[in-house]
């Protein structure tokens, strides 16, 4: 069974249809790069997957749990789905360690000491072990974003969603975050990334999804699709971002 199944979903804000008949199936271990113009519905699709936005039609199933079902405990579902945002959204009043241990200690009932071990381990994975006791405002943007990734990893999710997580960063800071994503890709994590980093999508994406006006306009193997787009819209889009 696929890890994620998006089946003909519709998402409207008022009368504005933002996602229209979108379907996507993701197997464990896949890395999906989502690209498309501003406003095409990329963020909204990610937010629907973990139930931050309700949908008006269709079905989303994550690891056998249906997102848009009253009987589903969204909290359980969200423990399986990590999401990292463009703006990091670390909790400013909590130390790096507490940012990471908050959810595991509150939800999984582990002790603060055990939590701290987990924090140490996930920070090591993003190369920031020495920042365990720092506060978010003492970190650079790139470091904050890596902590945000570590915070998600601490819940041991099966699926990670990334929404333009390098867009607010300077080029050199972008590099250090991409490095973390690379390591995660190699470790077999299932990921969906909304990104403008075409190089990354080409090298690590198993599939590319191009969104256009609320629909998936084109989908295929990442490298091949980027090299030879089949639709005029993707060709135009790539022409605009690559030059």
């Amino acid at each position: 069974m696929a890890l994620l199944e998006i089946d003909k979903i519709t998402k409207r804000f008022g009368t504005n249809t933002v996602l229209d008949d979108v379907s996507l199936t993701v197997d464990a271990g896949e890395i999906i790069a989502v690209i498309g113009r501003s406003g095409s519905g990329k963020s909204t699709m990610l937010r629907c997957i973990n139930g931050l936005e309700p949908i008006q039609g269709g079905r989303i199933t994550v690891d056998g749990m249906q997102v848009n079902d009253k009987a589903t405990d969204l909290r359980k579902l969200r423990q399986q789905v990590g999401i990292v945002f463009q703006s990091y959204n670390l909790f400013p009043h909590l130390s790096v360690s507490r940012n990471i241990t908050l959810a595991p200690t509150l939800i999984k009932g582990i002790t603060e000491a055990e939590g701290r071990e987990i924090a140490r381990e996930v920070l090591q994975r993003v190369g920031l072990e020495e920042k365990l006791d720092a506060y978010p405002d003492q970190l650079s943007g790139g470091q904050q974003q890596r902590v945000a990734i570590a915070r998600s990893l601490a819940m041991r999710p099966k699926l990670m969603l990334f929404d333009e997580i390098t867009s607010a960063l300077d080029p050199e800071l972008t590099g250090e975050v991409l490095k973390v994503l690379e390591d995660m890709a190699k470790s077999g994590m299932t990921m969906i990334l909304v990104t403008h980093e075409m190089g990354f999508a080409r090298r690590f994406g198993s599939r590319l999804v191009f969104m256009h006006e609320g629909r998936i306009r084109e989908e295929g193997p990442a490298a091949a699709t980027l090299a030879e787009p089949r639709t005029q819209e993707l060709e135009t889009f790539l022409g605009a971002v690559l030059h």
């Binding site: 973990n50 931050l52 969204l74 909290r75 359980k76 969200r78 423990q79 789905v81 990590g82 999401i83 945002f85 703006s87 959204n89 670390l90 909790f91 400013p92 009043h93 908050l102 959810a103 509150l106 939800i107 506060y135 915070r151 998600s152 819940m155």
Partner: protein, 220 residues
Amino acid sequence: MSYTFQFRDVFAAWEFILQGVAMTLYLSAVTMVLGLAIGVACAAGRLYGPKPLRVLVGVYVESIRNTPLLVQLFIIFFGLPSLGVRFDATTAAVITLAVNLGAYATEIVRAGLEAVPKAQVEAGHSLGLSGLQVFRHIVLFPALRMMYPSLASQFILLMLATSITSQIAVEDLFHVASIIQSRTFRDFEVYTVIGVLYLLLALVFRGGFALLYQLVFARR
């Protein structure tokens, strides 16, 4: 002008004055705790509660903020007994002040809660936390820090407003002043001394609040 100042009679009543100070401090402290509790509960109700609760809290806040404190005090002390609900003067004073402060605190707390970015709340939910956990661990502390200056000012206004309870013979600082005045007829001296005492109290509160802020909110 041939008036000779004479503070001796006023200062002679220092023990009496201290009792008044103690009562004013007691009224202020109890009311602040109760008023803040009411404020947090009502703000949460107004923001996250079901529609009827939100309306109810709105009615409470607006009716308190748009009527005089003295009228509220008289309704509770002189009005409620007609309905069979009777309080002694100090209890009536505490209830009135707490209800009054609660309304102002509700608005301050609500503004503070609303000032916490929605993205913070979403990040909490995305980690699998419940609404209550998000409120308790992610929203409350930054919100309190943001609302702290306004709350502190409101608390000091409340401390000064406790003087109104002398109207129902609560023996606060102002009531004590009136009694000393009626004994000595040293109006100017009495009220100046009492005014200075209120000023000192306000300064002490301000200092205390600043210290508390340093201890609780200004880490590092």
